[in-house]
């Protein structure tokens, strides 16, 4: 069963417009929030145990707490650069309920004392950009944005910024660079954005889902929100289920929901005749789980971390027995090689190297020592760079190779896939 907290009215087309949104409880909590002390909102979010829904799972209240306690201008950025392969929850949230995000953002901005915020949407999301832009106009007209919002004396402006198609701009400092008009590449930390971010001013970057969830913490209170999930993973989360399942799509479930129930229950199970082989539980950067591990896995931060993987952005990619792991790794490595910003040497050179090695294996030029070399290269890319893209490229390699080594060895020895039985050339021509 889904637990529809954020997605309760997503089935209603009218929920997209401001009238329909208000009819279904919209902007009620905003008035309530604007009467609260900003610190009280931060405390509420802290107490609710809300963690960042974008991938890293960093406690949101704690992040807000890092802001310097002074009157310096500060910015709130909404990270809607949803680029993690397999993830499509933010897109649905923006398309179905743009006002939900806007309301959550105004509350969050009020809590941290920001007068200006941006929604950074990935450039490929043409429809969400249009819908959110339109919703902003409606919100301005209705007086939810601009000067003296609802007579509270709080001023706030919000803008949409369109990305230009770089995965790396989903990294918070990369996004800040991009927003500043620079080449979208992550910045060296420290200083952290909360101290020196956009235009060198304190900046908070939060995911779409995180900001939208703030509204429900204010509405129901921290205690009610905390009822969902576990002590360390509170609340509900949207999961983007994809792969060879009967009913792929976005599902909102409380955290700590069993992974096998998501696949077999909500997802309707595997397609006929297919057997589950592996699952990438949190977007392509998360290490893969084998079918046996899936049985035990629950969708929360601590269980998945204990299994050596992560919840990430909540993109559950289901891999069935017709998929060749070497092929899949080839696709992933192509992606990371294409998306590395090229700043740090281990990532710039490492992603290219990994991509070449995997493709050498795929094209039948692989050597047995290449399998170990993949592991060594990935191991030395891990944790050596400014941002996490290097790790994101290295972790799938380490997990794919260590858990499905037989498929790689077969490919090197025979020059063809163990699963498909054919070579890469045969598959592509």
């Amino acid at each position: 069963m889904e637990t529809k907290l954020l997605t309760e009215f997503y089935h209603l087309d009218e929920f997209r417009g401001i009238e329909g949104y208000k009819k279904n409880g919209g902007y009620v909590e905003l008035a309530k929030a604007l009467k609260m002390q900003p610190q009280a909102i931060i405390d509420e979010v802290k107490a609710a145990g809300l963690r960042g829904r974008g991938g890293a799972g960093f406690p949101t209240g704690m992040k807000w707490g890092f802001l310097p306690k002074n009157n310096e201008p500060r910015y709130l950025l909404c990270n809607a650069d949803e680029g993690e392969p397999g993830t499509f929850k933010d897109r649905m949230m923006m398309e179905r309920a743009p006002h939900q995000l806007i309301e959550g953002m105004i509350m969050s901005a009020y809590a941290i004392g920001s007068k200006k915020s941006y929604i950074y949407i990935r450039g490929e999301y043409k429809t969400p950009i249009r819908i959110v832009t339109q919703a902003l106009e409606e919100a301005y007209k209705a007086g939810y944005l601009g000067k003296n919002i609802l007579g509270s004396g709080f001023d706030h402006d919000m803008d949409v910024y369109s990305g230009a198609g770089a995965y790396i701009c989903g990294e918070e400092t990369g996004m800040i660079s991009s927003l500043e008009g620079l080449k979208g590449q992550p910045k060296l930390k420290p200083p952290f954005p909360a101290v020196q971010g956009y235009l060198r001013k304190p900046t908070i970057v939060n995911n779409v889902e995180t900001l939208a969830a703030v509204k429900y913490i204010i509405r129901d209170g921290a205690a009610a929100y905390k009822k969902y999930g576990t002590e360390k993973s509170a609340g509900t989360k949207l999961f983007s289920l994809s792969g060879n399942v009967m009913k792929p799509g976005n599902y909102e479930v409380p955290l700590a929901y069993p992974l096998k129930d998501l696949i077999n229950g909500l997802g309707g199970g595997m397609k006929p005749g297919r057997k589950l082989k592996a699952v990438i539980p949190g977007g392509s950067s998360a290490p893969v789980l084998t079918a046996e591990e899936v049985e035990r896995a629950t969708l929360d931060y601590e269980c998945l971390a204990g299994m050596g993987t992560m919840l990430g952005s909540g993109a559950v990619i289901v891999i069935d027995d017709s998929q060749c792991m070497v092929d899949l790794l080839g696709v992933l490595m192509h992606f990371y090689h294409h998306e590395s910003c090229g700043q740090c040497t281990p990532c710039r050179e490492g992603t290219g190297w990994l991509n070449k090695i995997v493709h050498s294996i795929l094209e039948g030029r692989g050597r047995l020592q290449d399998i170990d070399l993949l592991m060594k290269v990935a191991d030395n890319m891990k944790g050596r760079t400014i941002c996490a893209l290097s790790d994101a490229a290295a972790l799938p390699v380490l997990s794919f190779v260590s858990k499905f080594r037989d498929e790689f060895e077969f490919y090197v020895r025979e020059g063809r896939s163990k699963v498909r039985g054919t070579s890469y050339a045969e598959m592509h021509h």
Partner: protein
């Protein structure tokens, strides 16, 4: 003042220092490329990783601030192995063209590989292809394949010159340095990018392919290109001087110098020099030894002693030389007609905000100081009037060393040749001088790298320089010329390091130096 421990050595550093600075302070070895003390921290090469006690992940030294009691170490096996791998990442796509690369011998990759690398490379894939011989501007060429993308050059144009010509284009391992569309790397500091490039990606058009660096010696001196007096290093061998690079001095020039200053070797090399003294009598020019020429004019000057004798000085000589020639003219030749030749009056006080100053002389302050000491205040119009009226009959000129910065050269030659007798002392050749007729003596002078002395820069800082080498062995310093002109005897100390054997055939020189320097004489050109 926090204390920290670097590889077991305790060191006290300034508040806010990074670990990298602490390493510099202790002299412990640490691998790095992108870090440069004169630029902001980029933290992209990821080579300077080190272990900090209590921190599970290795940190980069260039961006981590030292805190009290920090225990830092980069000697553990884990870090050594990590550095090896990062070096390998740098090298997998770097071409192995060291034999034809200009940077070989002073290359960061070579040095660091020998110190921190020495592994068996496992890369067996095709290397990335990028652009070769990219013309970035009038003085700098780029080889993108050699570039390790440390971003020092882009940071330089961004932060130091603030001209922003360079940028990083594309992403991932397709990233390349390039100039922004419609721009050229054409500022007066562009060659600094060549200096700070740790590999052979950026090379100087002036220097490339002319000499292997291991055939060059270097010595410290200062730049005489303007009144800033940047500290420099000259690189030379028996063939002459090949290039000039800046030397760090926080009080004068920091890490940088101008491109015009780098040309200061061109008037020093033999091709531009006056090699022997020349004397024009009624029938034409005769050549003689410089010392002899100075002795010869001695009698004439003595007989001309008094107000018909004038001395013209440029601000291109050392303090010691002025201290010799000015008292000699006052006391022995009994004249106070001593004038300061200002080369570019209009732009004398210009300043580009960084290093280059409008006063293109190294020692204006020094000359003025000596003139003031002796109560001299001759104005140029006095000299002009004296020459026009014929009151000044004999003129001795200490002409410019760097004629490039004397736009009024020909004009002044014309003016000064109005004197009945002209003694012109200068290091370089000049056609206008050789076109003169009448009683003219040209005496070759030593250039700034061939003598020692003191220069006083624009802010009054005295900088003493040592002799670097000799180019024209017979040339005189102003002091020596003064002594000879005053009729005193002088034995010119001949040095053993005479490096140019003018009358010998090139192949003989080659044979003699074959073992040491086989390729020196086989030069290419752009």
């Amino acid at each position: 003042m926090p204390k920290c421990t670097i590889n077991g050595k305790e060191v006290e550093v300034k508040e806010g220092s990074t670990i990298m600075e602490a390493y510099y302070q202790t002299g412990e070895a640490i691998a790095h490329y992108c870090y440069h003390p004169g630029l902001s921290v980029a933290g992209v090469c990821r080579l300077c990783i080190c272990e900090i006690e209590g921190n599970p992940r290795p940190q980069i030294a260039c961006n981590t601030v030292v805190t009290e009691g920090m225990k830092i170490n980069n000697k553990s096996e884990k870090i050594k192995d990590g550095v090896k791998w990062v070096l390998d990442f740098h090298l997998i796509n770097h071409p192995l063209d060291c034999p034809i690369c200009d940077q070989a011998g002073e290359c960061g990759l070579q040095d660091q590989y020998m110190e921190f690398g020495k592994y068996n490379p496992e890369m067996s894939e095709r290397k990335v292809k990028k652009h070769k011989v990219v013309d970035l501007g009038p003085r700098v060429v780029l080889d993108s394949e050699r570039c390790i993308l440390c971003s020092r050059c882009t940071r330089f144009t961004e932060e130091v010159t603030k001209t922003n010509e360079l940028g990083l284009f594309n992403r991932g391992d397709r990233t390349e340095i390039g100039v922004v569309e419609g721009k050229q790397l054409d500022n007066n500091y562009s060659m600094n990018t060549v200096d700070i490039c740790p590999v052979g990606a950026l090379t100087s058009k002036d220097f490339r392919f002319r000499q292997r660096v291991w055939y060059l010696k270097d010595a410290d001196t200062i730049c005489t290109g303007c009144s800033t007096g940047c500290n420099t290093k000259v690189y030379f061998n028996k063939e002459g001087i090949f290039r000039i690079k800046p030397r760090y001095n926080p009080d004068v020039n920091g890490h940088w110098m101008t491109d015009t200053g780098r040309d200061a070797y061109k008037f020093v090399n033999r091709e531009a020099r006056l090699l022997r003294a020349q004397k024009h009598t009624g029938s034409g020019w005769t050549e003689l030894a410089p010392g002899q020429a100075a002795k010869d004019v001695s009698a004439d000057l003595k007989s001309a002693a008094g107000d018909s004798l004038a001395l013209v000085l440029t601000a291109q000589y050392t303090l010691e030389e002025y201290e010799a020639i000015i008292p000699a003219f006052i006391n022995e030749f009994k004249t106070k007609k001593i004038y300061f030749w200002i080369n570019n009056k209009e732009s004398f006080d210009d300043f580009d905000g960084l290093l280059a100053r409008g006063d293109k002389n190294p020692n204006t302050k020094g000359l003025l100081r000596v003139m003031e000491k002796h109560g001299l205040s001759g104005s140029w119009s006095d000299l002009e009037a004296g020459l026009n009226s014929g009151a000044i009959k004999t003129v001795v000129v200490a002409g410019p060393e760097n004629q490039f910065v004397f736009p009024d050269m020909n004009e002044k030659i014309k003016l000064l040749s109005k004197a009945k007798k002209l003694v012109w002392m200068q290091s370089g050749k000049n056609e206008a001088l050789n076109a003169l007729s009448g009683d003219v003596t040209l005496i070759p002078m030593k250039s700034y790298i061939e003598k020692e002395g003191t220069y006083v820069n624009f802010k009054g800082l005295e900088q003493k320089v040592k002799r670097v080498t000799t180019v024209v062995s017979e040339a005189l310093t102003l002091t020596e010329a003064t002594m000879l002109m005053a009729g005193r005897n002088l034995t010119i100390p001949t040095t053993k390091e005479l490096f140019v054997e003018s009358n010998r055939r090139e192949d003989e020189v080659m044979l003699e130096h074959r073992k040491k320097n086989e390729f020196v004489f086989r030069r290419g050109s752009l």
